[in-house]
Symmetry: C2
Subunit: 339 residues, 2 copies
């Protein structure tokens, strides 16, 4: 491993300078990963796809890597951060539309009764998302979401949600980019919401975020200045089959590497693997209740509604050569803020 | 002008080497442009937005430039190339679906009667596009379109359609990219169709092509291999207001520079100009019947259905500081193959 790594770094540095170079420091690009099959698979994949003249070489323009966000790049339990945002925006929404105060499902959310909130139906959740995420200008939405994400804290760790990003995945993003990969987020979450923090949190610019997206409507304000309003019209449901469809629509190339953690990433991983040559498909198993959370129901882990990873998906992964990342065993460190 | 240009080149070269450099050749980056207000506007815009510390400096990650394709980057007369493709695909389509042979509007297209074809309604054209552009796998479509574009010839110049790209715009694309701009195509044409030739023709990769787009459907073939089928379901009508809406959806940033040639580019240019700081909005006027085509109806040019540039748009451009590019006066050379 050490030797391969050293060679990669030498060629990287040499490439950056446009010169042959004999100086290189063999630093581990993935220090938060324990030695094991997951880390090894990453290092071997990068070496194989970047070795000029090698049988699995991928030209730089085709080096596309797609990452799910919730549960893959940052914590998604006990509830997706964007849903928390929508719940916490409720008082501001009621101020603008007081009529909603005594209407369901808004009444239940405002009650703060967690048990009742957990029982809301999918249709009711969609109603809440539509009310809190549409109807304003895209600039107003962006400003609000950015303000919230800068201030809100996760109750367990008492830290910003953006600090709850997984350090091993941050290293992986950087390592892939250093090797010429273009990194994309392909999330079931809202494209607009994720774009407000993706650049700062992951180094991923807005144009490389593919997510569930509604339409917008172009219009002019009173002074004649054009602006866009967020409409409650779904253009892309970027979950399950929607992920490869969204990738084709937004990127137009099949990824060479893809990373997920739940059944809604299944089709993206299948689509990625179905391309020829070297392909890397990895899936995070949340099996560390102590340092993060434990849920499946794969491998006898607790069954929860958020980030479901079924046994069938686990079996498909094992059968097809996807790499299951065990948080417990493969990650030496989960968060940057750990001592 | 010369001095500014020289400084830009020096800083460019220095940046590429990561070194201070004292050697530079003051080559004209836009040799096919005549000296005049259009060329000057481009040079001044690039200088203003790339001068570090200057009042109009734009950071590299925000340097987004969007280009319409038909009539802006390549010839669109007498008919959009993609529509020609659909017409020429008709015999192959009839082979697969013989039932269409005696049905309108397919019968008219097959007749080759140009007068009758020119009279087809918009709905009939949409029916033809849907029949020839959907129902196959995305890979089959790509292979067919690529084969056609490699073989088909424009009847006037007897050259490939991709050779009918405007040399001054090619220079502009390269000049912007050399100055850190990310160049996008934002076309009313089909996203999939344009993606098949954009990289080779314009140096623009698939993920930087935004166009009118239909949905796809994820499924599995008999061996269990996943694939995507092109569906007759419109996701993005990338014309008029659809252009800024498509830009927001696909790119998530407002362009700093935008280039078009017809009324369907109006909203994209307005949206671009409405951002703060230096903005470049340019619109190509086809006023050279001898070397290319002449059409408006702006400025008394002939009124045609393809690539309409109205007098109202011309007046809006003049009033708001958009630059009208006169093909006749601003372009010394139109095609690379000219002697």
């Amino acid at each position: 491993m050490k030797l391969n790594l050293k060679l990669t770094l030498v060629s990287l540095v040499a490439g950056a300078l446009g010169l042959a170079s004999t100086v290189a420091t063999a630093q581990d690009p993935l220090p938060s990963w324990n030695d094991g099959p997951a880390k090894q698979a990453i290092l071997e994949f990068v070496k194989a796809t970047t070795t000029q003249g090698g049988p699995q070489f991928v030209p730089p323009e085709a080096r596309m890597a797609t990452f799910d966000q919730d549960g893959t790049l940052w914590v998604e339990h006990p509830m997706y951060t964007q849903v928390t945002y929508c719940f916490e925006r409720m008082p501001a929404l009621i101020k603008q539309k007081p009529g909603l105060k005594n209407k369901e499902p808004f009444k239940t959310v405002l009650s703060g009764n967690r048990e009742a909130i957990a029982k809301l139906s999918t249709n009711q959740l969609v109603e809440i998302l539509a009310a809190t995420l549409t109807g304003m200008s895209v600039d107003d939405f962006k400003a609000e979401a950015k303000r919230w994400i800068a201030e809100a804290k996760d109750p367990r760790w008492k830290r910003s949600y953006t600090e709850l990003t997984y350090q091993p995945m941050q290293e992986l993003l950087r390592y892939l980019r250093a090797n010429g990969y273009k990194t994309y987020i392909v999330t079931g979450g809202g494209q607009d919401f994720v774009r407000t923090h993706a650049e700062q949190t992951y180094g991923i610019p807005p144009e490389q975020v593919v997510g569930t997206a509604g339409g917008t409507k172009f219009g002019y304000d009173r002074s004649g200045k054009p602006f866009l309003t967020k409409e409650p019209k779904l253009l892309l449901n970027n979950n399950n089959a929607g992920k490869p469809e969204g990738i084709y629509f937004m990127i137009g190339r099949r990824p060479v590497a893809a990373f997920g953690n739940s059944t809604s990433d299944k089709q993206m991983l299948e689509y990625t693997r179905a391309g020829g040559g070297a392909r890397l498909a990895m899936i995070v198993l949340h099996d560390d209740a102590e340092r993060e959370y434990a849920y499946g129901p794969a491998e006898g882990l607790p069954d929860t509604k958020v980030g479901t990873f079924t046994q069938a998906l686990y079996d498909e992964a094992k059968k097809n050569g996807w790499i299951v990342i065990s948080m417990k065993n493969d990650w030496e460190k989960i968060f940057a803020f750990e001592p």
